[in-house]
Symmetry: C2
Subunit: 325 residues, 2 copies
DNA sequence: TTGAAAGCGCTACCAT
DNA sequence: ATGGTAGCGCTTTCAA
């Protein structure tokens, strides 16, 4: 790796001049510029980003903090974020938080120490205060934290309403809800959407709501429990696709047919829904677009460009597949 | 963020001394050390990693280059790598290459510019020469590139043999193979394992081998094609789990029963295999352990510690689930 | 045992 | 239009 000084020497100019052509600012004659450019090419010179970072107090790096990249919702999001960052010349630092506040705070220290330019967060544990203290551009995706932090979400309440309504329209008589964890915002919103539709139904009672944790195995167990206690259930709205998959497994294992005996609808629109059989009907969020927009918003903040909206709620879309009639 | 100078001033010592206690090297009296430590605590001082990097020419960052984090094999690997790096104080930079050599080379430039300490690669396009030129500690996972680059793989040939043998033992009469892309090492090794078992069978002919690309949709198509042309097929060895899932979908769509009419076995052992119904019998690689070991090996190289083995081949394990008799 | 100072590679200010 | 140089925050050598 050659340095700017070597380039300067070889081109017969000062490092200041080389720096100017590198950054395309300040006066430099066309001739000198060509000279320098030629030498840069010749030496295959690439500026040292660390030295730059030290001076500019920024690193062209953005952190993505997710609970667990292994959860099939996140790879697609991560991909969208990375693609976008890449286009704008940023690099992605990936962090798995396991929803542990302490781990998140440790990461946040590291971000500061490395001059990371900003962060995209998916977290339920981080408070507005934590983010404030981070004192870095931040965009929150999927779960909002506070109204003055840039946020990208989708219509959880409305999506949940549509999901429940859809089951009803398809003739389901008793619709259960497999909800996500109680400390998770999206889980609550979706639960509210469900409640909004069913609360005045004669058949409705709180026993039709079971709590899962956005993960498959427990959701399968919970579903079995639900179906044993209330065999009249013929429709299940799962709070996310992974739990929907768990529900499918449980229902099948109990010897019931899908969708003839029980209809199931999920939420998220992850690829997994198309992998399984029967394919999962779902309320799809535009995951890639959410990551894309989140990354763009963050970059605008970092580059101090004006941001039209700091809150963006994406519409969701009902995708009818094979787990509903 | 306070600096080392502020700490020094407040503690009434020189920055050199502070640096010494920070790095725990050089002489410094117990009393002074306490002083300094107290001030560090007081100011909540965290050393600037960028400045450190500039001097030490290393960044405590490791890059993981994968084809596409969206491919369900990689999140688990990424998770293992990140967990391990984290333990040792390193940070993960995630890169999606899409198997494009150019993108990979761009990343490699960035790695150098940022003083990234090393890289974990999963790539078919990168040559030994590319890696050589990178001139950075490198560990290759899943697909070996060259014998003097540290490598972590699993028993592809043996696993494929076992898979095929297993189908045979279970009574399959005509076993097809859905192989991965021709430029991919693992795909070839697994193909060879299959061939090794079937080549002398009276029923065997090359028409039983179809080429997929380690992805679901095409694999479903290819499977249908295969089954239409050769309805006598009653066993399929898919080159990876994702293709196995595609095969399941195709077989089901054709109205055949699994495993009664057609048995299917995959390769990889990704979680997806347990998500679907019927659950996929597979040859499992210890994905997490591979990532873990790969990361550890890389760190040893970075820290110039002795490395017992530079090549590690993990044993695979047959996991019998529901797609085989 | 401690401090002064050079230097990691770059940017930007101030001269010229 | 170009060059000299201070300084970003740290580590390490050399002196004391």
């Amino acid at each position: 790796m050659s340095t700017i000084r070597e380039v300067a020497k070889k081109a017969g100019v000062s490092v200041a001049t080389v720096s100017r052509v590198l950054n395309n600012n300040g006066y430099v004659s066309a001739k000198t510029k060509d000279q320098v450019l030629k030498v840069i090419e010749l030496l295959d010179y690439k500026p040292n980003e660390v030295a730059r970072s030290l001076y500019k107090k920024q690193s062209n790096t953005v952190a993505l903090i997710v609970p667990d990249i292994t959860n099939p919702f996140f790879p697609e999001l991560a991909r969208a974020v990375e693609d976008t960052l890449n286009i704008y010349g940023y690099t992605l630092m990936l962090c798995n938080s396991d929803e542990q506040a302490e781990k998140e705070r440790e990461y946040m220290d590291v971000l500061k120490q490395k001059y990371v330019d900003g962060a995209i967060l998916v977290s339920n544990t981080l408070t507005a205060e934590d983010v404030q203290k981070l004192d870095l551009p931040v965009v929150v995706i999927d779960r909002s934290i506070h109204h003055n932090i840039s946020t990208v979400v989708s219509e959880n309440f409305e999506g949940a309403r549509q999901a429940t309504l859809f089951l009803k329209e398809k003739g389901c008589q008793v619709i259960a809800h497999l909800r996500g964890p109680e400390h998770v915002v999206t889980a609550n919103e979706r639960y509210q959407g469900y409640i909004d539709v069913v609360q005045n139904e004669s058949w409705f009672h709180e026993g039709l709501v079971a709590v899962g944790n956005y993960e498959m195995k427990t959701s399968a167990e919970v579903t079995k429990d639900l179906l044993n206690k209330h065999p009249e259930i013929d429709g299940i709205f799962a709070g996310n696709d992974v739990m929907g998959v768990g529900a499918i497994k449980a229902v099948k294992q109990m010897g019931k047919r899908i969708p003839e005996d029980v209809s199931i609808i999920g939420f998220d629109g992850i690829t997994l829904g198309e992998m399984i059989h029967p394919e999962l009907t779902t309320i799809a969020q535009p995951i890639y677009d959410m990551g894309l927009l989140g990354a763009r918003m963050l970059i605008k903040q970092i580059e101090k460009k004006p941001l039209a909206q700091t809150f963006h709620e994406f519409p969701i879309q009902l995708i009818q597949r094979q787990t509903t009639r």
